[in-house]
Symmetry: D2
Subunit: 467 residues, 4 copies
């Protein structure tokens, strides 16, 4: 009888700190051993010359979610997780988004109904808190944290979502009491609203004006404020989708004085610029997200922040709104003003390959940092570690085997989400996962999707060590 | 016939950049000549060995003002200007404070009624804008600016006064259109409210908890936000009564990147500390103001900011609430919680002597910087220059003759306001004005008050060059 | 037949990124497997409830070395490595120190002769370059790098050792050509010389004046200069024994702009202060090292630098000069001036326990950071990784098993070096290694030294990935 | 009999802090009165609509000076002062440059011999100290300071001039004892030497490689080091000809922490860039100076530094080496390598007009700042105030009357130095002095030179208040 259900032989196994050639033995969905000459497995994979990485955790994705603007994500739990695993990501943490007046518990139940029997990878949930009433703060949150929902996102902008400073303080205090992680979308709402109004007064409605309205300074201000509020309460926060050098500088300074602030950035801030919004007609809408892509100088700041430890997490902020759809980019009508375009870009599948190609292969970051940013840190930040996010004995056998030399030209045709475009059409990358597995089961193999809906399971999150 | 109404002979005449021994000739209330051997004056003053300085402009004082808490300043225009001139200050700029729902024009008329026939020195008005409705912004403000009210203060805290970011942006935009100066009281309201609530829950009601509630970080955050909003609109602002190192650092950084932010500090941030709030019973209320006095380390930052040009203006923020009065410190009742104590300390008369003694005589700042901070810059910032704020041909003969060696022990008995205490009781200083004159008329002479109520006139402010 | 020579069962295995409960299987001196239920070993250790850490690498130690002052280290390769392994450190990198006029090759041979047959742990060598002649730079260095001596230390102070900027540039350029790591002792020589001369003129000879002469500003300046020179050449450097906040700030700023500067600090900058130099008579000499211990404020900066990634390496800078010895602290005579006291403190054995106790158990740093600083990073920095510095398949089985609850009071009696004092006499720590092994052989077990002289082998270093 | 020898009527009189319309009365070469309706003068000038500024002090000029490279300045005291006054500058402070081995006293005597009977404006001397022997430091310097030579420049680069850190410390300490100002040419010598050697090895000899050799980082490093050395000694220093953003940042940070560091910049860092060095053949030599012109980004930093108070002094660093001369730019031979080209550009005459046009008229700096930078601050820094540098009663009547609307195209033909080129050929400016006077005597009037050689007198400098 074979000792292992599966042995991956001779690959270069990478963790957030180590790079080692060895075999990986899997039993009952769990990594049972790492060794130089492991006993036989029922199944064997020869990974010689390949990279054996932890499956990625994409901790910022929107699937099967109705946005406050009325747009609806094209991806369901099925297509979202399918796309994820084809790009080396074997776990996602989408949002269960509260609408004002709604109970958080009910919100969570709704999202479970969407996910049940659909997902191909495991998944957990963040809560979006838009209505921090006394009962939400005092009763629902503590109960939900105990049930495994240990992180929540709050917004400082968007009419339907934004909290004021006082509400934010109450959320921070609750998180501190219970031990939870608070994610912050930091842009100054009034600045954006005021700029937008002025732009529209002048008839500036094209997608490129979205970039003008979402000024760097609006992100810098809100980031500074969020850090100050968290510092006051002494509660860790994680700044999501950071794009502006002003924000990066405030985060770096806060870390250097010992404040527990963590930060995330996304592919769109490395690979898109404001010029991508400035295309004929409505085309620029394909690259609209909030915060928006900025200029080359800001891109350099983001790269530097990845290299020097200012950023802890690299996520996709996958927000898949179809280009040619009344529930997608055109939710506000065809050729409408930038204010009514659905905000967000897809990126679940390309997240890791693009960073690998432009970051690791160029030497901007080493491969251990890559694993830390894409796999290990998100798992640690959100209470999924050590079950997820690393290759270690006892961890779930969520593994991606990469061919570091494979050349791929990104196009919508080869992606596995339910979108009708990708903002990275035509981008060329080197390096792509050829096999992905979830709890030891191969779900993506040499171009073939092997998982079935429902193979993915819900993950209760622990209280993060960082919180 | 004498060439001059008055000649001041042989004194050391100081401006914001020059220190020169010469005569000053006054005619018709105006400085008519500076010279080495001026012709005879109808009246002559021998200033040999004395300093001849411009009369001070105190650009941040509260007189005859009802606060939002219901407290009332002890000083009227009479006692306030009397106290000012006895300390070398010959012009003040108090506030005409709008209450919500009130017309600005009506507010201004009310304050004129209080000042008419009362003042002993000249005076102008800042407007406090607490209700920036469309008609206030669109109609009243432009008209008032044309009438000589070219600066306004807005608050980021206090329930009855605070503007949100959007309102602040509208005020900034209006100021930019018309050319006006915007003064900002920068403390994060929600932080203070949240901290106060927590403190009171624990029964922490003593004056010293005022310091805890008004955390440094609340001032730092609001200062950063105010600068960001002003930078967005490209409108100069002046941060008033800056006390915290976090705020000073943000102001310094903004100046270094070319943002037009000006800054003011006050005696209480140089000469009081948080320890002064921590006295038996209600005694600490005597030193309560917002922002509060902080610690020695913060004091050093304030001194360094005065020396290196971070601060442009040194004012008193004279807010004279009597200690033993139901309309003063005890407006919330005897021995009430810190939240209900009237906020503010007096300082009109001691402002210049205390800075002179502790700043100029110690070498921390030179005497030209002293004149710049106390006289010239406030005049320039608020459109009173060159009529006021310097000793130059054509300027009003508002002059103070100082004995740099005079030793004075500050006590409530020797001051000329209508207060029942001074927070600086017993402080010893060297240097005091022995003569003050307004438009050539001697109003304070060797310990004697010579001015009469109504001698002081209203000043229309020009649009400041800096705005 | 047993599958493994040794199995460590059920311990908590820690790497620079992971913390996992599992078994460790060792065969032929190498880690052969990590697993949840490994097959039997010829020998078994029950590590349940214990920490299983990589053996430490102390990459800054002086043993069997004659200093330029004529002092001689008390520790030989025997006693030095013995002390190391009793404190959880299983590999050291001492210096082969060139004297002016000496060939580097000869220097290396001399040090090999000292080490041969003596060491109880493995060891590599850094070269100290004090005489970078053309032949040293052009011929000896490249050959030695190929032979496994891939790092060198240069000094910016000490008469017998200091390089000028031009020499430093030549060393940096050579390092860049060949791929080597340059370590820098950064203090401004002329500042120290000038201050020392002034102090001695005034008769200030006591140990505490060593602290005055080695001013913070001298370290800050030289650190800034070293970074600038390295940045010019685009060659990585590692700042050793950093102590001053001025230096930390320059390093942090350089890292944030992408300069490849690494940094090391040592126990004396966390656990000693300048007050320790200010004792009766000669006693202060026990805590004299360069740079000197500084004040509490600087200590806090060092802690913050450890936490936020400014520091990459934590070493001992073990420089064991006996207190009561004419070749130790008293090399310049009894009760001589501070300029003639032998400079350095011992710390090989206490390095890891003291940081564990004061850093990990208090939550200042997590245990993965502890492993990174003490084990993995030094191995990576100096080309010993992945052979050393981690617990991973294929790595040498250099392992320390820690009892995290063991309480120890540090005293010279319980240490295993050849010193007559420890500067940490009486310090209490929690956590100590109970077993250390080198290549699978247990060398330290429950208080007993099991290794024999010569068990330790010389390690050729690869070109570091970071260089 | 007229009261005044001269009255300038109705001009706008500008000082470093004030801007006032008034008359200026001059008697016996001194400003005797400022007034609104001064009595008649023997001579009268109608300055209505004109600016009446203090005559400029150019505190960094090289005239009749042999450089260490063997080049010789084209300008003598005659032509240099002539050129100065035609551009509104009525006082200069050139250098008396010590060569190694030479007595400072002898150096001073030599320069007096060159200046006697030649100068058209007043002049003082800085000493260049290249050989700080014990007798120079201990005896010559103190005596010369007493005789009115109260400032000295030291170099951190140039083989014939550079001091090492120890020598620099001795100079700083001597300056502190006696009260003198130390000017520093801050570039890292070894960096430049090393880069130059590498460039020449590759045959990179063209003028543009001068810019490469004098890297920004070399200026940044040396500036930081100079500040650190001065801070150690607690002696003020003035960083001359600052050009690099790295240097500006270090100066700004030092000022913000209270270090007494002053800074100077020059026209070449505002109006030339590195592209000006990159011209066909030898042409680029016309714009070679040390430090070199840098790029647009650095120019912006210089402008910002002028606006925010980082710079105290704006000088020309006039170093007039003819283009087509074997004692000028071609001192190393025709078409030689950049290392042998004479370093320096002329600028005495255009200094003030170019800054006025590009700085004041554009609003980058106000006119008071302009006067401070060009007139008042240099006089204060070097002990010439209040005799020089301002328009005030008792000051020398050194005055320039400017037509702020005059348009001038700069060309070598219209300048009054003895050069054969100007690097600013073809630059257009608005604003030029139409009358200059020295001690009340008109020396330049509407395009005509009225001064005679020897009209200018030597000025003994007081110990600067700042020193
Ligand atoms: Zn968001
Ligand atoms: Zn999102
Ligand atoms: Zn206020
Ligand atoms: Zn106030
Ligand atoms: Zn060292
Ligand atoms: Zn050492
Ligand atoms: Zn120079
Ligand atoms: Zn020069």
């Amino acid at each position: 009888m074979a000792d292992f259900d599966l042995v991956i032989r001779g690959g270069t196994v990478v963790t957030a700190s180590d790079t080692i050639v060895c075999d990986v033995g899997v039993k009952d969905g769990v990594i049972a051993a790492l060794g130089s000459k492991l006993a036989k497995g029922a199944k064997e994979i020869d990974a010689t010359g390949k990279l054996v990485l932890p499956g990625g955790i994409d901790s910022h994705v929107h699937v099967d979610q109705l946005s406050s603007s009325g747009a609806y994500t094209a991806d369901t739990f099925l297509s979202g997780t399918r796309s994820a695993m084809c790009g080396g990501t074997t776990g996602i943490i989408p949002f269960a988004a509260q609408f004002k007046g709604q109970s958080l518990r009910k919100t969570v139940e709704d999202y479970h109904a969407k996910a049940d029997g659909q997902a191909m990878t495991d998944y957990a949930f963040h809560l979006i808190i838009s209505d921090p009433t006394e009962s939400v703060i005092g009763q629902e949150l503590p109960a939900l944290i105990k049930d495994g929902y240990t992180s929540f996102k709050i917004y400082l902008t968007y009419d339907a979502l934004k909290l004021n400073d006082r509400q934010f303080l109450e959320v921070l205090a609750a998180a501190r009491r219970e031990g939870a992680m608070v994610m912050v979308h930091a842009e100054n709402h009034d600045m954006i609203a005021w700029l937008s109004e002025k732009l529209l007064e002048f008839g500036h409605t094209a997608p490129k004006f979205h970039r003008v309205a979402h000024a760097n300074i609006a992100e810098g201000e809100a980031t500074n404020r969020a850090i100050a509020l968290a510092e006051l309460v002494d509660q860790p926060i994680l700044m999501v989708h950071v794009s502006a050098k002003e924000a990066i500088e405030r985060i770096r300074a806060a870390k250097a004085r010992g404040v527990k602030v963590y930060a995330e950035t996304c592919p769109q801030y490395l690979f898109l610029t404001e010029d991508d919004l400035d295309k004929d007609g409505f085309e620029g809408a394909k690259c609209m997200c909030s915060p928006p892509p900025r200029d080359k100088d800001n891109q350099e700041f983001v790269w530097q922040g990845l290299a020097d430890g200012t950023f802890d997490v690299f996520s996709s902020d996958h927000a898949p709104y179809r280009y040619d759809s009344p529930t997608g980019k055109r939710v506000g009508g065809a050729d409408t003003s930038f204010k009514k375009v659905a905000n967000g870009v897809p990126g679940l599948e390309i997240r890791m390959p693009m960073l690998f190609s432009a970051g690791v292969l160029t030497g901007r970051i080493d491969i251990n940092k890559f694993v830390a940013l894409c796999c290990t840190n998100p798992a640690k930040m959100y209470g999924l570690y050590p079950r997820k996010g690393t290759i270690a004995v006892g961890a779930d056998a969520d593994i991606a085997i990469w061919d570091a030399e494979k050349k791929v030209t990104i196009s919508i045709d080869m992606l596995h989400d339910d979108m009708d475009y990708t903002p990275y059409e035509g981008h060329e990358v080197t390096g792509w996962p050829i096999i992905s597995m979830v709890r030891g089961a191969i779900v993506w193999n040499d171009g073939e999707v092997l998982a079935k809906p429902g193979d993915g399971k819900f993950l209760r999150c622990d209280v993060p060590a960082t919180a």
